[in-house]
């Protein structure tokens, strides 16, 4: 027995556990439950609720020698104090004798339950938590049959307090455990809720505007041990025991959080199944037991009545619904006739199976297939990505994390959270960007470069690592040298690379520079080291892995002269209406889509695709973890999964593809694509014991997040990890074009106006109107004040926005949230003209 292990006895069982472990955790590891309310294994203990009262006996020691004192039978003399103690705050030591279920301890626990119930409404029959409520369970176990507390003295409080439009508080049910407050403060650092008042009047309030302003607010409803906090989508929506649970993967960003879709048949929906709520599913390597509010609340799009439900073909200029057979026939005919110069364009939200079959079909028809994106890095991720054995949760003292050209909180909230936590554990965080982002608060070093200079900034760091004198012209901003030293000295280093401020060309140079830096500092080819691209779509890495890459030229050029266009899971004409002019008028267009997008309006054949809730498939996260999602509800209308639609067309055109199951497509992928050689659905379903235990019986301990019984996914190995040499290259930067005037830079906002977010009525209030962010100098020059309208022209189009002045933005740069219909994928030159208010608006 090592000295860091201690032996103790709990309820007669002898066990060994690390010295200093909290008694509550040690007991649970030994299979003994201590009831808790305020304790949560992810947070510091506070000992507030007093639910976990137990009897603790400690061996008496000789004052001089420190040896245990023995009784006449040579047994250590055990001293029990006069009081019960809280197991959640007490750290274990050698020789303890603990009673959790002794008469005295149970008496104490009963007293606490009785206290908690004095003013509790016990409206379990209508409470959303009923059925998965720790208080309800403990009441059944310990609660007195009859209340000694006078019913008339019960404290009445407000039953519906909207902390924001997402989270509703029932003040009567709150047991003042502060889990919610502590989560917001300790875990996500959005301290926007607090206790107000004192004593029996202690109550939760929010003081942010808008209320409960946090991207992580929904998690508080999972860990609230009672029905005090509920999400507005689920409130009074269903009883937990009526729900089915399908394992899934969040489709909104490249983190790939593991989720559960809770579904139920709904009378209002004609008896069909719908998703009632989204809950986190534990994966301590990916999202732990958390998800962001976008993942939790932006799911209604999949059930939107606007979804395409039938195939359509264009007849006499109009789209008409038709049968699958007919639509497939028309599509196959069209491709035969006009497919001479075929372009396939797919989006990074499709699954690996879809993307693989897409590539097969287009290739089989001698066409060219591409990914509708511009950011580079997919190849380098295959070469020098993180690889098996990695876990952002392992990074800490001695390690370094670099985040460059990304506003991680907006682009990938759970990565932001995990990076923040790694920094708090002691990892040195370097945040490099052209503007302030919230992650800077936790950084050891911030590097600010001029917009567009991300590659040069990294090359400057490389200069300090290698001493390469040809690079010293890039060593020009504060923090490069120090950052280089930190990365070089780090045991492990992970580099998150985003695309903010990049165009396709500079993104390439940036990833090459990043790869060179990681290689020069020997942070490749081993677990917890390497590159993570912060993709704009959830499965962009999967697309690269399936062999799809962004266009080499501008998309407009790719569209010219095409005779046919095949679109899957992307909407280039919606993103940029100007593109309609680029595609020849007579080009034959096929679209596989969820919604009637502007691209559908240009289509000759339209296939309704299934959304992620109706089918199975795999997604590859930015960390290159392949994960499986399962069907949760029956398909919308006649929609089919993308991979199947493709296989059916292939069958008509003599391109043989897997058409029976998504699992079957994955088997093909495994044969065909080296990195996926080991990936099969059965292995993706593997589970692993995780700490803390959550869900099911352990809801009182970790909350209602689901336990992961459907698969934790597989981390792909990088080429460097497999011993393949990585040859870093980097390119000199081209001369910057002079006198360009103002550049407009697209940035990411979590709640964007994308098709997957807009239908969410819940998030509608948080999306807000896009504002043009402008620096003080430019605003002054143009005589613009906050909120003033300005017309912005780029690429021959004009748009109007209100401006928001931000001192942090340098002259010559304006920022605009990414949005559809703007044709603003990458930074470009623009013109600003203030819009004169009409005399009426002036109030004259």
């Amino acid at each position: 027995m090592s000295s860091s292990q201690v032996k103790l006895m709990i309820d007669g069982n002898t066990l060994e556990a690390p010295r200093g472990m909290l008694l509550v955790d040690a007991a649970l590891r030994a299979g003994i439950d201590v009831p808790v309310f305020c304790y949560h294994p992810k947070m510091e203990p506070v000992g507030m609720c007093r639910m976990c009262l137990v009897e603790i006996g400690r061996p008496s020691r000789d004052r001089q020698s420190g040896e245990f004192l023995l009784d006449e039978n040579d047994q250590p003399i055990i001293n029990f104090g006069p009081n019960l103690e809280t197991a959640c705050t007490t750290r274990i030591d050698e020789g303890w004798v603990v009673y959790i279920n002794s008469e005295r301890a149970l008496e104490g626990q009963k007293q606490i339950v009785e206290f908690l119930l004095t003013s509790h409404p016990l409206d379990c029959p209508v409470c959303d938590k009923g059925g998965e409520c720790p208080l309800q369970d403990l009441t059944m176990l310990h609660g007195p049959g009859i209340s000694r507390f006078s019913f008339h003295d019960k404290m009445n409080s407000l039953k519906r307090v909207a902390l924001g439009e997402l989270i509703i508080l029932d003040r009567e049910r709150c047991i003042q455990c502060a889990r919610c407050i502590r989560f917001q403060e300790e875990i996500v650092d959005d301290p926007v809720i607090e206790f107000s008042n004192r004593g029996r009047s202690l109550e939760i309030v929010t003081f942010s505007e808008p209320g409960f302003d946090s991207y992580f607010s929904g998690n508080t409803t999972d860990i609230c041990p009672v029905g005090a906090l509920t999400t507005s989508d689920f409130r009074f929506g269903s009883r937990p025991w009526e729900l089915n649970a399908a394992a899934s993967i969040c489709p909104h960003c490249p983190v790939g959080c593991n989720i559960i879709l809770n579904t139920r048949r709904e009378v209002k929906m004609g008896g069909s199944e719908i998703v009632k709520r989204v809950l986190p599913r534990q994966n301590e390597m990916i999202n732990e037991i958390w998800i962001c509010d976008k993942g939790r609340f932006a799911y209604s799009y999949a059930m939107d009545s606007e979804r395409l439900s039938q195939p359509m073909i264009r007849v006499g200029g109009e789209l008409e619904e038709t049968s699958w057979d007919n639509a497939l026939k028309v599509a196959a005919e069209g491709l035969k006739q006009s497919g001479a110069n075929l372009l396939g364009l797919a989006g990074g939200r499709a699954s690996n199976e879809d993307l693989y079959n897409f590539k097969q079909l287009i290739q089989g028809l001698d066409g060219v297939s591409m990914l509708n994106d511009f950011m580079a890095g997919g190849k380098q991720n295959q070469q020098i990505g993180l690889g098996p054995g990695s876990n952002l949760g392992d990074l800490g003292v001695g390690d370094a994390i670099v985040v460059i050209a990304s506003d991680l909180l907006e682009e990938a909230p759970i990565w932001w959270l995990r990076v923040k936590q790694a920094a708090e554990r002691g990892a040195k965080l370097i945040v490099a960007n052209a503007r302030f982002t919230k992650l800077e608060k936790y950084s050891a070093h911030t590097v600010r470069y001029s917009f567009g200079d991300a590659p040069e900034t990294v090359l400057g760091m490389l200069h300090y690592v290698t001493g390469d004198s040809s690079l010293n012209k890039y060593a020009k901003v504060d923090g490069q040298e120090e950052s280089a030293r930190i990365i070089k000295e780090a045991t492990n280093a992970v580099l998150f690379m985003g695309s903010e401020g990049s165009d396709s060309e500079s993104s390439k140079r940036l990833v090459q520079a990043c790869g060179s830096l990681l290689a020069a500092t020997e942070h490749i080819g081993k677990a917890n080291n390497g590159l993570i691209p912060v993709w704009l779509k959830n499965n962009t890495q999967g697309a690269w892995d399936m062999g799809l890459t962004p266009p080499e030229k501008h998309l407009a050029e790719e569209f010219r002269d095409r005779t046919a266009l095949y679109l899957m899971a992307c909407d280039p004409f919606g993103d940029n209406p100007e593109m309609l002019q680029e595609l020849p008028q007579d080009a034959f267009v096929i679209v596989q889509e969820l919604f009637h997008t502007p691209s559908v309006d240009r289509a000759d054949v339209v296939f309704p695709a299934q959304s992620f809730i109706e089918r199975d498939g795999t997604l590859t996260s930015g960390e290159r973890v392949v994960q499986l999602f399962y069907p949760a509800v029956s398909p919308h209308g006649e929609s089919l999964p993308d991979w199947k639609i493709l296989a059916r067309i292939g069958a008509l055109l003599g391109v043989a593809m897997e058409s029976t199951s998504a699992a079957g497509v994955m088997n093909r992928i495994a044969e065909d694509i080296e990195d996926y050689g080991e990936i099969h659905y059965r292995e993706l379903m593997n589970r692993e014991d995780q700490w803390p235990p959550v869900g099911g019986k352990q809801i009182y301990f970790g909350g209602t997040a689901y336990e992961n019984s459907q698969g934790i996914g597989i981390r792909l190995s990088s080429r460097a990890q497999r011993g393949e040499a990585y040859e870093p290259v980097w390119k000199e930067s081209p001369k910057k074009p002079k006198g360009e005037g103002i550049r407009i830079v697209p940035i990411v906002k979590l709640y964007d106006q994308g098709t997957t977010v807009l239908p969410s009525l819940l998030l509608a209030q948080r999306i807000g109107q896009p504002e043009l962010v402008i620096g003080q100098e430019d605003a002054d020059r143009l005589l613009l004040q906050n909120g003033a309208q300005v017309e912005v022209q780029w690429n021959g189009t004009a748009h109007q926005f209100p401006v928001a002045i931000d001192n942090d933005i340098p002259e010559g740069i304006v920022l605009l949230p990414r949005n559809r219909q703007l044709g603003l994928e990458m930074p470009m030159a623009c013109n600003l003209t203030p819009v004169k208010p009409t005399s009426k608006e002036k109030g004259e």
Binding site: P45, V46, G47, M48, C49, R50, M51, L53, P82, N83, L84, T89, G108, Q111, I112, E114, F115, L116, T118, S119, R148, F149, S150, D153, M155, I175, Q176, E194, F195, N197, R198, G199, R200, S201, L202
Partner: protein, 418 residues
């Protein structure tokens, strides 16, 4: 009457004038140590004096200082001037009438604790007093008793006043620290104790006003002199705040161990209107009441004896009740007080004080039944020893002792359950 150590203003009325204070030996104690004794030597003197905390718990002051985590700086000294115990008004008199002795005591404590910053946490209602103290601090700074390099030695010191918002719980030292940090006043989990992680998570000494006012004479006159006053285990004098049914209420500085009788009859001139004494609350609302027997009256007011008699000396805010007092009314008042003052952080106190108050209210309104006494006792039992801080225990003391000694007072309001 014994010598006045703390209430020197009774002998020298103008001692709240700095020059008068200086002319009467003021800052001699501080001068004697700064640069001349090591901080450890000062800690040892205070240990040897047997001085115990006057804030309520009576913890040996020098021993508390020696718990400061070594080698961690900065450190802080925080002066507990929250004085909120019902019937306590002694710290206020020190601050009003003999303020420089407190300020010198603070400086001595800071020197011993190796702290450069002290905060005086005043209860919200002391705002005017806080203003006066601020002026005195500014004056000390002008005259070279505060600031950088005091007396040319390596000792910097700043003292700041912080005014609370009026919560009894902020007298509890960790709730006080939370409040001082700008947070809601709620006690912290202990350990860590303030000496290890106190204000801003740095090693911190928290001492009561009266405790620190004892330091200048201890330094100038020595530990042995101090030990010669009071009892063996409770040395020095204590200020007893005497109130209730008493002919001459007020603060009395007497050696620890002085009997209740001497305080009440010799100093306080006894009970008015020829009434008989019924009971004594020796520590405001926070400790069991004592039925006024001859034996109790002869009990010495030191930490050990009062505890042996079944109560606590606490902050020695002695409330005397004569025969006209209905003890169930006293229990009603104390439960009302604690229901109002519970911070609500932990379940037994938050719910239990609310419960006991509701039952007492029914009893007061004539709606109580005989079962209620059993309920009250059992609720109290569910609270005691299960709370996060001592307030929970306090809340039950007057009530359960009241039921124990004066059940007939309660019975008079009760009826059988129907």
């Amino acid at each position: 009457m014994s010598e006045l150590i703390l209430f020197r203003h009774l002998d020298i009325p103008d001692i709240n004038d700095l020059d008068v204070y200086l002319a009467n030996g003021g800052f001699k104690g501080l001068r004697e140590i700064v640069g001349k004794k090591s901080p450890q030597e000062v800690v040892d003197i205070v240990k040897a004096s047997g001085l115990r905390g006057r804030g309520g718990a009576g913890f040996p002051t020098g021993v508390k200082w020696s718990f400061l985590t070594p080698d961690v700086f900065p450190r802080y000294v925080v002066i507990n001037a929250d004085e909120s115990e019902p019937g306590a008004f002694k710290d206020r008199e020190i601050m009003e009438r003999n303020p420089y002795q407190l300020l010198e005591g603070i400086a001595i404590c800071c020197y011993a604790a190796q702290a450069q910053t002290a905060y005086i946490y005043c209860r919200g209602e002391f705002w005017d007093l806080a203003k006066e103290l601020d002026e005195k601090i500014a004056e000390l700074k002008d005259r070279g008793f505060l600031g950088k390099k005091l007396f040319g030695e390596k000792f910097d010191l700043e003292i700041y006043i912080h005014v609370g918002a009026g919560a009894y719980i902020c007298g509890e030292e960790t709730a006080l620290l939370e409040s001082l940090e700008g947070k809601l006043g709620m006690p912290r989990l202990r350990p860590p104790f303030p000496a290890a992680e106190g204000l801003f998570a740095k090693p911190t000494v928290v001492n009561n006003v009266e405790t620190l006012a004892n330091l200048p004479p201890i330094i100038t006159r020595g530990a042995d002199w101090f030990r010669s006053i009071g009892t063996e285990k409770s040395s020095g004098t204590k200020i007893f705040s005497l109130s209730g049914h008493i002919a001459k209420p007020g603060n009395y500085e007497l050696p620890l161990g002085t009997s209740f009788r001497e305080l009440i009859y010799d100093n306080g001139n006894g009970i008015p209107n020829g009434n008989a004494i019924k009971a004594i609350l020796p520590a405001g609302a926070s400790a069991p009441l004592l039925p006024a027997s001859e034996e109790i009256l002869d009990t010495g007011m030191d930490y050990e004896s009062v505890s042996k008699a079944g109560s606590q000396l606490g902050s020695a805010s002695i409330i005397v009740m004569d025969e006209t007092v209905d003890i169930s009314w006293v229990a009603y008042k104390t439960t009302k007080f604690f229901n109002h003052e519970s911070c609500g952080k932990c379940t037994p106190c938050r719910e239990g004080t609310y419960w006991m108050f509701n039952v007492m209210q029914h009893i007061k309104n004539g709606e109580g039944t005989f079962d209620d006494l059993a309920t009250l006792n059992s609720v109290a039992e569910s609270i005691v020893g299960k709370c996060l801080c001592a307030l929970g225990d306090f809340s039950t003391m007057a009530l359960t002792s009241g039921i124990e000694y004066f059940q007939e007072d309660f019975n008079a309001h009760l009826r059988e359950k129907v």
